[in-house]
Symmetry: none
Subunit: 244 residues, 2 copies
C-alpha cells in the first residue's frame, strides 16, 4: 500500500525540509516523492539520512500541480489548524487517515504539502478532492514542513488495532508466598536494626506486609529483592570484628 502513495511538495523553499520529508518517508516505508516548482533545484544535494537519499534521487520535478498528480485517483491537500477553505471539504487528519488507507487499496493517492511560508494556495487546493488538517492550535497552527509530513505518514501507518487492544498487561504479581518471604526478610532487618521494639513488633510487621502487598511487585522481583536483602541481614548479624 505504501507504494500507492505519492508525497507531493508544492513550492518547497528549504532543501533541508525536503531532506527531512524524505527521511520520514523512509522511516514509514513510503518511496515516491514529487516536487512542484521547488525554489532550489539542487535539493537532491540536501543533507538527508543516507538511507533516504534514494528517495530524493528518484523524485520527480514538475512545473504544475496537475502534472504531478495526473495518474492519481485521489488528491488530498494538507493544512494545519482549524482554518478551512469553505470551497473544499476538510477532514481532521484522524479521519482522513482511514479514508486514505481505504483508497490506497484500489487507487493511487497524492498527498500535497504547501510551501513553508504560505501553505497550499487556493489554486493548489482546487486540484484536491478534499483537504486534511493536522489538529494544531489555532494560536500557532503553522507547522514545520518536515514535521507535518512525518505526522501525516505516521497517521497512515498507525495501527488502530494496537490502540484499541487492551493495552496494559498487568505484571505477574508475586504470590502470597514470595510476598511473605520478602516481608519476613524486611521484618528481620527491622528487628536486627532496632527499628522494631517488642511493643511495636506486631504493628511493624503489619505495616511491612501491607506495604509489600501494595507494591504489586512481581514474583521474580520479590525473590530477587529478598535475596539481596538477605545479604544485608547476614552482614548485620555478622559485623566485621573490630581490629585488635
Amino acid at each position: 500500500l505504501t507504494f500507492s502513495l505519492r508525497v507531493v511538495l508544492v513550492s518547497p523553499r528549504n532543501p533541508l525540509n525536503i531532506g527531512a520529508a524524505a527521511r520520514a518517508m523512509s522511516n514509514f516505508g513510503f518511496t515516491e516523492m514529487s516536487l512542484v516548482n521547488p525554489y532550489d533545484l539542487a535539493y537532491r544535494e540536501a543533507r538527508s539520512a543516507v538511507r533516504s537519499r534514494y528517495i530524493l534521487e528518484q523524485s520527480h520535478v514538475f512545473e504544475r500541480v496537475h502534472e504531478a498528480v495526473a495518474d492519481c485517483t485521489l488528491v488530498v491537500g494538507t493544512s494545519a489548524g482549524g482554518n478551512r477553505d469553505l470551497h473544499v471539504p476538510s477532514y481532521r487528519l484522524e479521519t482522513a487517515g482511514s479514508l486514505i488507507r481505504h483508497h490506497l487499496e484500489t487507487g493511487k493517492v497524492a498527498l500535497l504539502f504547501g510551501s513553508e511560508k504560505f501553505g497550499l494556495s487556493n489554486d493548489d487546493m482546487s486540484h484536491c478532492h478534499w483537504l486534511t488538517r493536522i489538529p494544531t492550535r489555532d494560536q500557532h497552527a503553522s507547522m514545520n514542513l518536515g514535521q507535518a509530513v512525518a505526522i501525516c505518514l505516521y497517521e497512515l501507518m498507525r495501527d488502530g488495532a494496537a490502540a484499541l487492544a487492551g493495552p496494559f498487561i498487568p505484571p505477574a504479581r508475586a504470590g502470597a508466598a514470595e510476598a511473605e518471604r520478602l516481608t519476613s526478610v524486611l521484618m528481620s532487618l527491622m528487628v536486627e536494626s532496632g527499628y522494631a521494639h517488642e511493643r511495636t513488633m506486631e504493628s511493624t510487621e503489619l505495616k511491612l506486609r501491607r506495604l509489600v502487598h501494595r507494591m504489586g511487585i512481581s514474583a521474580v522481583d520479590a525473590t530477587s529483592m529478598a535475596g539481596m536483602l538477605k545479604h544485608v541481614l547476614w552482614k548485620i548479624q555478622h559485623p566485621n570484628p573490630s581490629p585488635e
Copy 2:
C-alpha cells in the same frame, strides 16, 4: 492536561532540532521543556518559530536525568522501530498515547527523547517506568529528533474516541524523586553488605532502579520504606561493639 507533560531532551546535539521540538510543542499546546546535558548550551539562540521561542526561554537545563524528572510520577522513554530493551516494558506509541493521556489527568509525566545519534542509553532508560516506540521500519528505524517529538505529541493530542477508551487506571506512583531515594538507600545497603563489588556496582544500580520502577510503589510507601531501610543502613555502619 498539556501543562502536565514535560518534554525532556537528553544530550541533544543540534540546536536546530531543539528549536524544532519547541515548535512542535507549541503547535500542539505543550509548554514545558527540559534538557539534560545539551551539547550546546547556546541552544536558546537556536532558530525556532517566533511563537515557540518562549518555550526555549523557559526551558531548564539539568546535568542528570533523575533531576529533570524528579517531580514526575510517570517517566516514559521513547525509541524507534522494533528494538526493545528487555528490562523495561515497551508499548507501541498508539498504545502508549492512551496510557499517558490517562496518567496526565492525575499526575505529571516526563517524555524522554535521546540524543540524535544514540537515542536513550541504558542508564537513561533505567529511569523510565516504560518505553514507547514509534512504529518505524526496522530497515530505517532512526528518526529525526524534531520529527519524533512532533509525532509523539500529535499522538497525545489525537482525538481518537476509541483510543481514549483505555480501561487501565494507573496507580498513584511514586515520583521519580521518591523512587530514586529508595533506590539510593537500597544501593547503599548493597555496597555496605558486600553484595555489590566494584565491578558489579553499575549493573546492581541499574538492576535496583529498574526493580523499584517496576514495583509501582506509591510515594508514601516509597518514603516509608526508605525511612525504615535507613535504620538498617545506620545499624550496618555502626555495629554494636562486642562486649568486653
